[in-house]
Subunit: 501 residues, 2 copies
């Protein structure tokens, strides 16, 4: 048997996908576990990706009329009690603040001071519908005050038992949109609009193809009337829910008393929505594009789109190479790609060239450019594209500058195309339970299965047995008569089934 080529990441995806994921997070210097159970430290390279996500999403929110605001970290316990499904969904996994002071415990340590016990415990927000709803109730009097279109960038806490960096952590960073409307139609339109925004962002910026769909009743956000999501397929053929948009009907308006006087002077409950994406997107990004050499970043999210590596053996060569690199950097950085200037770094650290190159490969930089005395003599730059195999090629310097934006655009597109191809390859229509069981059998690769279904306990039991889930009913699913593969009942549209994160 031929020996497998050496890869930067051990194990490879094929050998052990979950462990490969952890090793990519580590090798790319994205994050690490902290001293607090389930909470991670997001390191500069990982945080810079999140900043790029934030900046571009924020612009999309603002372009659709939303404004940012900030609401309290804490939620009074009694607020959770007001919406029955909501409390059911979040009370089991929340951080509870009970005291506001520590005091010496008499044994050299500290303890929560009994005299500083809160009258009412506070919950660290797992999501903010209740506290924001209570605020909105004060802001809304008349239909003239509507719509309210607010977004918040914040940290939230859900006490997860099994955590995995970026994908599921006790504390995570996210944005949560919260809006109030005078009519059901307007609130529904907002819910769908934000799902579109998420899909556009996922595909256009993250180069991650997604299915837009509606969740089944059992998968709805606690308290929502309808939950929509974008679902992506990872390289291990498991699905990842990457963003959700909830139509809350009047449930939270009733729980929090968000009422307004309509045009006819009648007092009525408002209609609300909420929608969010989180640092989980970084996990999705990793699992969509990365390979056995580490992270692969779509240019639109790369903290550095180009890294220049000067190559020299002595001071004389350095004096020749460095100014050349500096000038190149400036020229590249003055080019525009995707409405921003190109992000370029020079890495002149005192490290072996090979080590440096591998470091940037593992960190997923789209273009690595190496420049030594011989390249300068030829007025060429050695360019390596992260997304394709091979050592790279020498390209005339002027061409490198003039084509850098195109090259980045090509990489962005190539990553998307590759992910679409993988998803297509892993997508099937299944019309019988036997075929379904085979497709999701323990050692089968699985993927996305489009099947007729009617939600039922029979289905739930079968899915549980197969460790499979129903992801959503795609919004673009055609109406077609069929039979539920689990019960034989009549069905009008196919849903998407997959193993999932």
């Amino acid at each position: 048997m031929p020996k497998a080529p050496k890869t930067a990441i051990t194990p490879t995806r094929a050998e052990n996908y979950p462990e490969w994921y952890q090793q990519v997070v580590k090798a790319a210097d994205l994050a690490e576990n902290s001293d607090v159970r389930g909470c991670m430290v997001i390191k500069p390279w990982g945080y810079a990706i999140w900043e790029n996500i934030q900046r571009q999403l924020d612009a999309m929110f603002k372009a659709t009329g939303h404004e940012n605001a900030y609401f309290p970290l804490f939620i009074p316990m009694s607020f959770l009690e007001k919406e029955a499904e909501h409390v059911e969904g979040f009370a089991k996994e929340c951080a509870v603040v009970t005291h506001h002071r520590l005091e010496p415990d008499g044994q050299g340590g500290l303890q929560p001071a009994p005299s500083a016990k809160l009258e009412e415990p506070l919950i660290v927000r797992p999501t903010s519908e209740t506290i924001i709803g209570a605020t909105f109730a004060r802001w809304v009097q008349s239909y003239r005050d509507l719509p309210i279109l607010i977004n918040q960038w914040a940290n939230v806490v859900r006490w997860e038992l099994r955590t995995r960096m970026f994908l599921r952590t006790t504390e995570f960073l996210w944005q949560e949109g919260h809006t109030v409307h005078a009519s059901e139609d307007e609130a529904l339109a907002e819910t769908r609009q934000m799902l579109e925004v998420y899909a556009e962002f996922a595909e256009g910026v993250m180069a991650m193809p997604v299915i837009k769909g509606e969740k089944t009743a059992g998968e709805r956000f606690p308290g929502a009337v309808a939950t929509y999501s974008i679902e992506a397929l990872m390289q291990d053929r498991k699905a990842l829910q990457a963003g959700t948009s909830h139509f809350l009907g009047q449930n939270f308006a009733k729980a929090q008393e968000i009422k307004f006087q309509n045009v006819d002077g009648e007092l009525q409950f408002a209609w609300t929505t909420s929608w969010g994406v989180s640092t989980r997107l970084v996990g999705g990004l990793i699992m969509t594009h990365s390979d056995d050499d580490g992270l692969v970043l779509p240019p639109k999210l790369a903290p550095a789109q180009v890294v220049i590596l000067p190559v020299y053996r002595n001071d004389e060569e350095r004096a020749n190479v460095m100014p050349y690199c500096e000038t190149l950097k400036e020229e590249l950085a003055s080019q525009q790609y995707a409405f921003e200037t190109v992000r370029v770094r020079i890495d002149d650290r005192d490290l072996r060239g090979g080590d440096k190159r591998w470091q940037w490969i593992k960190r997923g930089v789209p273009l690595i450019m190496e420049i030594g005395p011989r390249d300068i003599a030829d007025d060429k730059v050695f360019v390596k594209r992260r997304d394709i195999e091979g050592k790279g090629e020498a390209i005339p310097r002027d061409e490198v500058v003039g084509t850098v934006a195109n090259r980045l655009a090509e990489i962005q597109q190539a990553l998307f195309d590759r992910a679409v191809a993988l998803r297509n390859e892993a997508t099937v229509e299944i019309d019988s339970l036997e075929e379904f069981e085979e497709y999701f059998a323990e050692r089968a690769p699985g993927g996305l299965a489009h099947c007729h279904f009617v939600d039922s306990p029979t289905m739930e039991a079968k899915l549980k047995e197969l460790k499979c889930t129903v992801r959503c009913v795609p919004l673009d699913a055609q109406t077609e008569s069929g039979k539920c593969i689990f019960t034989g009942e009549a069905s009008e549209r196919r849903g998407v089934f997959a193993r999932a994160y």
Copy 2:
């Protein structure tokens, strides 16, 4: 007695300064109290100011080599215990998480689940030296890993008994820089550099003059070797500490075991710094520039630098006025001021013209432009500068566009100059205790008093009696022989004394 002119804010500054402050916060729609004791809701206009602060400060941090990262919200209780002064400083006012689940209390409500009590309580971070220090200890092995230059944008919680919006709240937003260095000199240089960055930002962006100085021992950050601050003077002649930069020596390195191998291969403790500014800056901004008509914003921080108010009486006039306003908006928005494009809004809400104008005056927009059919006929725009009295003036349209950047720059400068003048007027040198007591007597206006002093219990007692504080020893204070006004001891430099927030 002549009747005082009607003002938008009641009471006026002269009548009741603290209440005036609250009313400006309300009238400018900056923030409001929330349902959680001591926590505020930052409303869109207030948050947009904070976003402008963040964006510009962040660029300064990055320009000085810092990278952003994110660390856990929670700090294990035992971490606080490791630095004796630090625990003393923060244990008395912190939110303590003791449980990770709620359960029904049997009476229709909820309670922290006894079975979900944490083995070790967690503190909601009041500041992050301990948890970040523990992380840095893992990152640093050799002198080659240094310096580490990290910043974090985050929320923090300090359980304050008496709160006031922006100035002192239980939860607040801030940035905290944390750096690690191989030498004392380098750490000191970093501490001073960040103080400079804060001063540059305060004066250049907020138009708020500040004194850079070192805090006395009693006013140091808990655990610091030296604390530096920028101190501003508010219109009521009370000082506001607006930012701090701490030289932590090896205290936290020892508590958290941040060690490295130096060039000679010896293991030694590192030197660390930390520095921060918070949403308190918004409070300082309000109290530096605002007047009895509400908020006054320096252009560099205004969410909208120009608001255009179309004026029309019927649909016909509207059809004439609106396109003119739209075109003007686009042309203004394509102008550059302070390295950004000019921020312009049109307010076409269905409200009385006077109400709208007052709303934007109260919100502090630097330039309000009104345009009606007659202005259009003259090809003029009616321009009102927020920072100066009077109704405004009609200016030829082309001139308005061509000079908007200059006009904003003028306003920015005028606000700074006015604040400097006020501070100069309220600054004195005092050389005797009698004079000092008179200057800070209960009904005296007070201000900034530069006095010779030697820190002592006598001084502390006198300051407490007068409700006065020592702010700092200015870095630019000249060496001059003098005598402590409290004890008569020899002193080499003057410190600054003031009542303070």
